[in-house]
Amino acid sequence: MDILRYAIYRFGTMLLTLLVVSVLVFTIINLPPGDYLSNQIAELRATGQASGVAKAEFLRKEYALDRPLYQQYLIWMGFIPGPQGFSGMIQGNFGWSFEFDRPVAEIVGESLWLTVVVNLAAVLFVYLVALPLGMLAAARSRTWIDYSAAFLGYIGLATPNFLLALILFYYGHKYFNLPIGGLMDPIYEGQPMSWEKTKSILIHLIVPTFVIGTSGAAAMMQRLRANMLDELGKPYVETAIAKGMSERRMLTKYPLRVAFNPFVADIGNLLPAMVSGSVLVSVVLGLQTIGPTLLTALKTQDMFLSGFVLMFVALLTLIGTMISDVLLVILDPRIRYEGRDQ
């Protein structure tokens, strides 16, 4: 029951955070001087195309860009009625993309869940790699296993993600015949889900997952190793060994469980970095996630589109952090988030 209450509380704080983030995002997308439409109107005027001006003026009215900023924000969020009544983010209307001349929801469409898939795969990769490697590095500390794991970790930390992506892509294609670019074969684009499509996506995911996950896995591995080393020095480990327990059983039964906590807690810290990484890697590798969309939107000052993408990316990390916090409470009975006096 306690956990349920905590989960609800945590969900509430997430919504509040999201509200603050929306203000932040709205401020950022309005930082560049002017907006897409007024720039376009100026350009159309300069080239003497009066018919275009009328349409742009109409859109300006339609999307309330002629109102003061705070009203624009409230309309964008759907807190006050705009020209078409209540129709903002919370009503599920994500706005209009001026650059593509289509609704934002239509443009991002499939790329939303592909973004989720890419990031989930990366999180999974981090766990699958960091857990055994970190444990091994701790159990065999100061041997070549430990050192090579540390070396790989440092390389993962120091190489710019995008370059790692390019290089791995190149060699992956050359030696393992992995596909180049995109998240699926072009023939499946826009098709309904099928077994073939899933398979194609999985194969295309290999390199991006590796690239996005590497630095996170490196950090996680180092932390797990340090935690395990702390635990390994404790008397209960000695007792277990003295009783004749096999090493593997001893490791997984006692120290790993204790060292496991930060492992879950950390995903909250790692997630922002991984989402950042996925945006960058998507741009370089041409994955159909929202990364490339964000970049074009930012470059063309397509404010509703970039605003939505920023909000979505923030939401993704916030949800991830929330899940990791709740999981942590379930996993570790010592952690309680009540105040001190209770």
């Binding site: 560049p32 892509f169 810290n269 930012l298 920023l310 923030a314």
Partner: protein
């Protein structure tokens, strides 16, 4: 002096009954903190080497014009995408001193590319302390002397040339000026913000603490890169490269402070309960003075170590931004701007040397990491 004849240790010095038993330890106890830190840091070989390497890099920044054979935007239109050349010493069994074989361009009519072949007949000797194009030492003093240059008709591309026929080696040196300082400016911004917010949150507590804590949590839970992108997209495109450089460094620092503020706050929460803080407060010192003179010096060294560890993130951030075309812009030269050329698979495959700027990035980032680790380990000499 000792001898090992007796199979056990025998000190040959006569026994001195007056000598203090703790003489050895005494030295350590009297040594200043700085000496102790330095002594411990010296044993951390990797950190020491990295530190020396970084120091050399930064000291060389003002004189890169002297080391680089060409200017950052000097073009050789006959040598687009020419491959890296090596410097030879021996020509047909004869010692010539450092020289290069000039490249001869040939059009390959099957692949429609220029192919460069070394002309093995006419070795061109390198000159040292010669006159090259004009540059400015430390951005101020005009000079033309360069460390080495190739003859005018046989340009030297140690690490190849790029799409416009500019020397990659020279550009990497010039790029270091921006790429390495971006991190320093960024960290200064983040340092000032982090200490300011962390200090007032930790020292005053209450509502301020709550507000700042929420701010920290929110900023930490947001992915940095999209926000960096959004902020740099807001930089007007008509600003000068210098202004863009400064604003980008500030943007990098703007999102980095929450981590620092958090550790400052945690430290302040425990330190403000110490007796000496009570004492100063009772003597009537203002809050500002307590924070500046008594609290911050207490853990400045830790802050410096953690700052060292967050510089790499900024260097990588600048690279990523410039790479995506939203950071520094040409004609400014930075490693990220250079990597912009290596943006697609084709260039990695056909002109792999355009990706060379990756090497200095990796090396510098690793060096900062090792230095930071070393500093962190040695800052607590009494442990």
């Amino acid at each position: 002096m000792s001898s090992q004849h007796e199979k056990h240790y025998v000190d040959q010095e006569p026994f001195d009954p007056d000598a203090s038993l703790h003489q050895m330890e005494r030295q350590d106890l009297d040594a200043s903190n700085a000496v102790l830190v330095w002594r411990k840091f010296k044993t951390h070989k990797l950190g020491l080497i990295s530190g020396i390497f970084l120091l050399t890099c930064y000291l060389l920044l003002p004189v890169v014009g002297f080391i680089a054979p060409y200017g950052p935007n000097e073009r050789f239109s006959d040598n687009l995408y020419s491959p890296p050349q090596s410097i030879h010493m021996w020509h047909e069994g004869e010692f010539l001193g450092p020289f290069i074989y000039p490249l001869v361009a040939e059009a390959n009519l099957e692949t429609f590319q220029w192919e460069f072949k070394p002309d093995l007949e006419n070795p061109a000797r390198l000159e040292f302390f010669c006159q090259g194009s004009e540059y400015r030492l430390a951005g101020l003093i005009p000079a033309t002397t360069r460390l080495f240059c190739a003859p005018a008709d046989a340009p030297l591309f140690l690490w190849g040339s790029d799409r416009l026929g500019r020397d990659v080696f020279s550009r990497i040196l010039y790029g270091a000026q921006l790429s390495l300082t971006v991190g320093l400016i960024g960290i200064t911004v983040s340092f000032v913000l982090g200490i300011f917010f962390g200090a007032i949150a930790g020292y005053f507590g209450g509502v301020l603490d709550w507000v700042i804590n929420r701010m920290i949590e929110i900023l930490r839970s947001l992915p940095e890169l999209p926000l960096w992108l959004a902020l740099s997209a807001a930089v007007p495109s008509n600003w000068s490269p210098v202004a863009v450089f400064f604003i980008i460094s500030i943007i990098l620092g703007l999102l980095d402070w929450p981590g620092l503020a958090r550790s400052v706050r945690a430290k302040f929460l425990s330190l403000r309960e110490e007796e000496y803080v009570r004492a100063v407060e009772m003597m009537g010192a203002s809050s500002g003075r307590v924070i500046r003179k008594h609290l911050i010096p207490n853990f400045m060294s830790h802050l410096i170590a953690s700052a060292t560890l967050s510089i790499p993130a900024m260097i990588l951030g600048e690279t990523a931004l410039s790479f995506l075309g939203l950071g520094l812009r040409a004609p400014a030269v930075s490693w990220g701007v250079m990597l912009n050329d290596a943006q697609n698979l084709a260039s990695i495959e056909i002109y792999p040397w355009t990706a060379i700027p990756m090497l200095p990035i990796v090396v510098v980032v690793l060096a900062f990491n090792f230095l930071g680790d070393g500093l962190r380990d040695s800052l607590d000499p009494y442990s």
